[in-house]
Symmetry: C2
Subunit: 131 residues, 2 copies
């Protein structure tokens, strides 16, 4: 087993205007909270709030590209959004191996996205190891 | 409250080659399971497996664009991937209001993605209603 409980990983992700506009074009989620500064400001936000599911795209990259093996598949994932993320925020992402299930070749990670020191999202993701 | 327990929604989503390639370009997850047919076939799949987080992008569209109000924000979501999805699969998406929390203006949905009649993914998503 190439994963051990407590093993840690770290990445940095930035929601640039290109990431935001590509996500909008790809999935057509033009909800005003994400696309209309005035709408967002009137509801107490600093500006347009970035789509939470952009962070799930970053998780896809983390699992698919940043682990010591490419032989992986996502079984399940969960995320809680704790604070808004704005355009050009650089997010610090950390993940730690929470459990290793050797008998079924599965690994569970806990992860946190932070903006400066503030937690903006956290959750868990379980993967299977492929032959 | 414009949502009622048991209220149902239905959409159809297709993972076209354009959706797949745009997702790959956006998030740079070029894991061979998603980009190399031979790799996927050698591991028992029919062909390249589509990224599970494309389904989370469809959830973004559902919450942002398909509800009777645009005044929403996602609090949390979870998804379990039950069966592989392949390119050009047309997915039937159904969601049902599982709980309404009027005192905190929150609504929880259970959702299922089906490919023909087979469940490919299921989960829950909780939203908050904005003023």
């Amino acid at each position: 087993m190439i994963f051990n409980k407590g093993q840690q990983f770290e990445e940095t992700f930035c929601i640039s205007s290109e990431v935001h506009s590509s996500f909008v074009q790809l999935f057509n989620d033009r909800n005003p909270l994400h696309t209309d500064n005035q709408f967002a400001i009137e509801r107490g936000f600093t500006s347009r709030v970035m789509h939470g599911n952009i962070l799930n795209g970053f998780l896809s990259f983390f699992i698919g590209e940043c682990l010591p093996t490419k032989h992986v598949i996502i079984h399940s994932q969960e995320i809680q959004f704790k604070n808004p993320v704005y355009m050009n925020d650089a997010l610090n992402f950390t993940a730690v191996v929470e459990d290793v299930y050797e008998s079924v070749n599965a690994v569970e990670f806990k992860f946190v996205f932070r903006n400066s020191s503030k937690i903006v999202a956290k959750g868990k993701i379980q993967i299977g190891l492929l032959k």
